[in-house]
Structure formats: C-alpha cells, structure tokens
C-alpha cells in the first residue's frame, strides 16, 4: 500500500507505519468534525445538552416573555408534537443523537432536563 501526500511532501509505503494510522485518524476526525460537529455523541454531557437545547428552544419555539427553565414541563408552555419533533431533529442534526420511539415515553420527554438525560443515556440495544 502506498500513500502519497504531495502537498506535505512525504510518501509512505509500509501499512504498519505510524504515519499511515495518523493519516487515517486525521481523515476520520475531519469527517466527523464536518458531519456532526466537533463533539462525539457520548462526549456530550446532559448539562451541555440542557444549555444547548434551552438556547435552541428559546430562539425558535418560545415566545420572548415565556417563563421557561430546564425543569418546566413541555406541556405547561404548550410545546406540541411538531415542536417536539423539531427538538428531536435538532438533536439528530447537531449531535447525531437519535432517540427511538420506545424511549419517547411521557416521563423521558417531560422537560428539557429529562430529554437531555434520555439523550445522553445509552439506548437499551447498544
């Protein structure tokens, strides 16, 4: 196997060469960074998610004067199924976190904090 990097001026011929693995790792990291952001799903903590989700919900779903905290029940402020779907799609797009229907129980998605905890917990099948 021959890898040639003309732009950086070196040629690697041995697959066990650490430079090859370094190159692979760099490509993989770059690919992850451009497709799902800089963080790996399991690197994100529930607190990070709470902060991020609050920001998203305040800017796109809630009224300016809405009284809302991480523990406010979604149904209390009238967050409906379409708004919840927007939140779930936001998690998928920005954090590569997919919550399957079985985990979308009323308790798991009662508030931003509950949703963040559910999102960070490993899914039962994994």
């Amino acid at each position: 196997m021959i890898i040639t990097c003309s732009c950086v001026g070196f040629t690697v011929t041995d697959p066990d060469e650490p430079a090859v693995w370094l190159l692979y790792a760099s490509f993989w990291y770059l690919w992850r960074a451009t497709t799902v952001g800089m963080k790996e799903p399991h690197e994100v903590t529930a607190d990070d998610l709470v902060r991020d989700l609050l920001c998203f919900i305040r800017s796109t779903i809630l009224a300016d004067n809405a009284d809302f905290s991480p523990d406010t029940p979604f149904d209390k402020v009238g967050i409906d199924s379409v708004s919840l779907l927007e939140i779930l799609l936001y998690l998928e797009r920005n954090f590569d976190i997919y919550i399957d229907d079985q985990r979308l129980t009323p308790d798991n998605i009662a508030s931003v904090r509950q949703l963040a905890i559910t999102a960070c917990a490993p899914s039962p099948g994994s």
Partner: protein, 444 residues
C-alpha cells in the same frame, strides 16, 4: 391601551378569505366557528354585556374590515369607523331545549345586521337547571381557534385584568421558518416558499377520495355530532397510543382513526378507492406567550393516505409518522406559511381559483384538527365553575366534513361538523363504531 389603526392581514387570514369565497360559491354563508363554554351556575346578563362592551379589543375586532388600497397592495385590517357594539344575545333556555344541540345552536347563531352576520358575537344562555352556556361565534377569517381561546380567557377574567390585552393583537409572537429568519431577500423567500408547492402538488395529485353528498348539497344545513369518551376510555386510548409508539404523537393516532371511519362510510356507500388528502392545521404561535389572539396564525401539514395503507391501522400510522417527520424536516409548514404570505397580493378571485383549480374544487378528503386541551387552566368563567369547553368547527366545503378532536379535563371527544346531505344517521353510527373500534381495539 392604544388601539392599532390598521394591521396587515396574515398569510393565513388571506388564505381563509380565499376559502371563504370558495364556500360562498358553493352556496354557503361563510366559515362560522364557535367556542362553547358550559358553566356550573348562571351569569347575570347585564354583567355579561357590560364585560363584553368594556373590552377595547373586542370593540376593535367587531369593527375591522379587510381593505386594500390599490390592486396588488398588501391587504390590511382597518377599522370601519362605525363604532358598532359587540352583539350579545342573552336568553333563558328551557331544559328540554338545551338537550338538542341542533335546535340550541341554530337558536344561538350570530345575529344578522342588514342580512350580514356580525364577524364576532357572544351568546349567553341561562338554563332552567341553574347552569349556563356562553358561546363565542366568530368568522374564521378574523381569527383561529387558538386565538378564540385566548380571547375567551380574556373575557373570563375581565374586566379587572386589562393588562393581558397587550398580547391579544398581532405582534412578533409568530414563528417563522429557520431559513426565513436568516434571509429576508424576496428571491430566497420565494424559493423557500416554492418547496411547499412541489410537496403539495404531489400530495394533492388527483384522484382524491371524498364523501359524495346525497341530493343537493347547496340546500343543506350544517350539523354537529359529538362522540365523547369517558375518563377511563381516554386513559385506555392514551395507553394504546404508547403501545404503538405514538406516545407524543396523539394527533396522528386520532387522524388515522378518523380516516378509517370516513373510509368505512365510503365503503358502505360503495364509493371507489382513491387516496385521501387531509390538511391538518398547525399553530404557528410561539409557545408560552399570551398572543396574538386576533388574526389567523396557522400553517398546514398535508397527509396523503394511499388506499392500500388505510386497510391496516399500523401501516397507516407508520406512514403518517414518516410524512410528519419528512415535512417538519423539510420545513414544509413554514414554507407554506411563507407561500401564503407572498400570495396575499393576489386578487381573491384568482387566489381561490389557484386553490381549488388543480383538484377540481376538492379541497381535501375531510378536514381534521386536534386542538389538544381546550382552554387549559380556565376553571372559572366570570365567577362560575367551568364544566366543559367545546370547539365547533365549520364544515368546510368541498367535501363539507370536519373532524375535530379535543380534550377537556382528561376526557377526549370528537366533534363532527358536516353538511346534512353528506352523512345520514346510519353513516354517523357506522363512523362512531369504526372510530371506537380503532381507538379502543379490545372493543372490536
């Protein structure tokens, strides 16, 4: 509070005007909506009149009309300067009369002035059994059902809580699509709006299944039919939603059941197989706010159900869920809202032709809506305990059938609004049987 002299019509206001025009051409008198609040005690009619007439917002709303300064200009709501009072009808109703919904609502319809219904009116009926009913009648072009709930809360608390009026008029409390928020150029807005046109063209491809009327649809009246579920049945329905993986998508479960009930009636009438097109309104108000009450602030999700999908309840539910997800992902509701905004400059005859032309006047297979909890937290209305709150939607033509699901105090109910030429008594019975069978499967 200073009243706004004129306000731009929202995209959905103008859309509703175009729908209204289609309705009137089909021989109907417009889109009359009702919000009915049933109370435990009686209300003093004079106090009721006084409360209504003290509200500046109600006074303003009853006197606005759509104006456009010149062709292709943005239409605006403008006060007509007449200063008419809000029509309020107060009656005593004998017990035997209040049991019959049809008699009851025709009795408490909106009053007419020179042959024209007032766009907004109230009716109060004090019953012999010391209960009362307050009805808000309004024209759909003026506001949507969520707006009516906000307005009713205002009346329920008035006159001492006038500060909530601030949220009642149009403001920046309406959600726009993410992409529209970022770019305001007309070209970009237009291409964003065109996305929904492509989607709707696919969803509304002919043929579309509708219920055909028996006899002349023009000479028929609107009727309402209520299908109520007990608290225990509602609990079972909710747990059924969770069983089939729809714990947060109750509206899709109800939509699927309603579609199968309409299908059962069509099968009995031996009407041919065709896909169903069902537009479902989506409230675009930002959540957690107190307004706006005035004006329509909705967009739509469009569902198409193929004849083979409707045979199996679970297949249909999966398809509906996928369609909902795709539309939200592609921002179709916001794109459609943008399209309605752009089309405000079109003359109404052209707009209504655009709406009804491609489907030969068939606007939907039937209209469906899930309002969620009606007036949540409104336990008291002008000092009386609230027993029940009900929305009565117009039976929009064509086809002239609307199915609205709603909840009040842990009880689910479905209200059918229909032209009486469309569903006979046997059809209604079959509709209810099929609906219960799908919502409460162990019954079937």
């Amino acid at each position: 509070m200073k009243m706004l002299p004129e306000v731009e019509l929202s995209g959905s206001d103008y859309f509703l005007f175009a729908m209204d025009r289609i309705l009137r051409r089909a021989g109907r008198s417009g889109s009359l909506c009702r919000l009915v609040v049933e109370l435990e005690g009686c209300i003093d009619p004079e106090e009721f009149r006084h409360t209504i007439n003290c509200s500046q917002v109600l006074q303003w709303m009853v006197n606005v009309q759509k104006t456009s300064r010149f062709p292709f200009a943005l239409p605006r709501w403008r006060s007509n300067g007449t200063g008419n009072a809000v029509p309020v009808t107060c009656d005593r109703v004998a017990k035997h009369c209040s049991g019959n919904r049809e008699t009851y609502f025709s009795f408490h319809g909106p009053p007419e002035q020179d042959g024209i219904h007032s766009p907004l009116s109230f009716a109060l009926a004090n019953h012999d059994d010391h209960r009362s009913t307050c009805i808000l009648n309004w024209d759909h072009t003026l506001m949507d059902a969520h707006g009516a709930e906000i307005l009713m809360r205002h009346v329920a608390r008035a006159p001492e809580k006038q500060e909530i009026l601030e949220g009642l008029l149009p403001s920046n409390q309406v959600s726009v699509g993410g992409r529209v928020q970022r770019s305001q150029g007309f070209g970009e807005r237009l291409s964003y709006a065109r996305k929904s046109v492509r989607y709707i063209a696919d969803a509304s491809a002919m043929p579309i299944a509708i219920l055909k009327p028996n006899g002349n649809n023009r000479e028929c009246a609107d009727q309402y039919c209520t299908i109520s579920f007990s608290e225990e049945e509602t609990e079972r329905i909710v747990s059924q939603c969770e069983t089939i993986g729809l714990s947060y998508y109750h509206s899709l479960f109800y939509l699927a059941a309603a579609a199968r009930a309409v299908h059962a009636v069509r099968l009995r009438k031996k009407e041919g197989d065709a896909p169903y097109l069902i537009p479902v309104p989506l409230n675009l108000r930002r959540k957690g706010g107190s307004g706006p009450a005035f004006s329509n602030n909705v967009s739509f999700l469009f569902y198409r159900i193929a004849p083979e999908e409707i045979q199996d309840f679970r297949t249909m539910v999966v398809s509906l869920k996928d369609q909902m997800r795709n539309q939200v992902m592609q921002e179709i509701p916001h794109s459609y809202a943008e399209m309605m905004k752009i089309l405000r400059r079109l003359p109404l005859p052209l707009y209504s032709r655009l709406l009804s032309g491609p489907t030969g006047g068939r606007l939907a297979s039937f209209f469906f809506s899930y309002t969620g909890e009606c007036c949540p937290g409104m336990d008291n209305f002008m000092g009386q305990l609230v027993r029940q709150v009900t929305h009565l939607a117009p039976a929009t033509s064509i086809p002239g059938l609307s199915v609205v699901f709603m909840r009040h105090r842990n009880r689910l109910k479905a209200i059918l609004s229909f032209r009486n030429s469309l569903l006979a008594e046997d059809d209604l019975k079959l509709f209810e049987e099929q609906l219960r069978k799908d919502l409460l499967p162990e019954n079937g």
